[in-house]
Symmetry: C2
Subunit: 278 residues, 2 copies
Amino acid sequence: MHDTCEKLLNCREETSRAIGLAPRSVVHRMDESDPCTRCFQSRSCFQAALLLDEGVDRLVGQTAAVRLRKGQRLFAAGRTLDRVYAIRTGSFKSVMRAPDGRQQVLGFHFSGDMIGLDGYAAQIYLCDAVAVEASEACEIDARALDAAARARPIVQRRIQTLVADSMRRAQQNLLVLGSMQGAERLAHFLLDLSDRHRGLGLSSREFALRMTRKDIGSYLGMYSETVSRLFARFENAGLIQMTRRHQVQIPDRTALAALLGRQPVSLRIVSANPLAAD
Amino acid sequence: MHDTCEKLLNCREETSRAIGLAPRSVVHRMDESDPCTRCFQSRSCFQAALLLDEGVDRLVGQTAAVRLRKGQRLFAAGRTLDRVYAIRTGSFKSVMRAPDGRQQVLGFHFSGDMIGLDGYAAQIYLCDAVAVEASEACEIDARALDAAARARPIVQRRIQTLVADSMRRAQQNLLVLGSMQGAERLAHFLLDLSDRHRGLGLSSREFALRMTRKDIGSYLGMYSETVSRLFARFENAGLIQMTRRHQVQIPDRTALAALLGRQPVSLRIVSANPLAAD
DNA sequence: CGTTGATTTGAATATCCTCAACGTGCGTGG
DNA sequence: CCACGCACGTTGAGGATATTCAAATCAACG
């Protein structure tokens, strides 16, 4: 394990508890500027390792990995679920296609996330998984996974947790789409990303948005122009700062969080609304 | 079994195939005006029976049933999932509460539906289930269910199907909320209800909406006033007819379905748009 | 360095929300 | 069984928000 990584692993214990592995097995990516590929890999692959009930060390570098370029599809909705995936590097979006051709982005997934498990019960993929940027994913054979689950309760439980999380997330998103307005949705989205980046040991204060405005819009149920305008408003209000186009800074999470949990606009104290459009 | 029921069971085979029981075991409620309680009960209880891997006949009348009045809660989000439920009579809504007190209706459930299974993987209820009208539900003990699942693959599979359905439904609703406008959402909702009523052996052409406009609004991500106005527009356009306030008629499903799969308004041929507000 | 696709910005418009007032019908209790 | 009260539903008007189309700007990439 890298020496530099050691120093920066501040949320090891927490993660270890959440996932149920010994702290020693938990390795985080530490920083954007120094990807520290080896440790990063173990972070995402140890998920696979846990699921397959093997040692992390044995697995790193052994699990079959798929390389995808931006826009390529990892799996397609409707096909038999023969594998699930642990994202090693990069990021993906889950996309649902309506018969009429419309698309809806259901979620974004980053390194260390498992994808495909929303279709685990159905035994088919429920949505497409598309690479948002050049990415790598570890393949986990579904049969091997089932076998491991039957043999070891902890694996069984881990799968259940992952399936449960995708269910929870879907329902949470229903709340977001059904009862929040644009600004609140975007704030929620940014804070969620921030949290997840912290969970990966990355900065929760500054991170990259590698997906397009259109994807964000689809995910949040609005158009890319609206997303763009909201970003501009957030920036004017000092809630965020954009360095380069796909890099966002959140100087003060509290300020952003203040947009959440607001009842309809008219109930807001208008003068205190940092987003009033002039 | 009622004699009259026999005559009206036109979709028995289909349902039997979908659910995997012999056609003889499938009994439908046939008509609003004659609830045919006994057969109706077996329709919802045979779900429980299948899950518990017992004979339908043995179970009807034996499964513990809870009676709820309008507005009462069957289970609460966050609590340990110790039971799942098969709805015998009436209808329920799943409601999610945000920390700030906002509520989002996640779905509606009718007789014969199983509820609670969205939280099966999480082992806690993910949402509240609230009776929309006076209702009865059969209790199914989660431990007994787990035991049955371990013992019999068919029960295992059946649970998986139910869990998968709730996942699918959640994702489908994300598409509805994320990429449809009001009129399209309502049309989708009505057609969905229509389909589900047909699945129960009831009329898909005319049925009751026992939930309030506010609930419909919450479910569809809009306000009750908007729901009301949309109903009015639909009626003016001849797409539906409302007999009494909670009874809706769909004379021609095709006309309603034509509202679906539309791209943004500007792409519609305006003169052909039956909903143009004058 | 030019081309392409993504993003931003502007202006006009549609949609939906919000508040308010009114109508309706259901259930309760007399 | 009737009358009453109250929650639910409808309708209207005005305004906020988001969409739509168009045009300009920017960034990435060969």
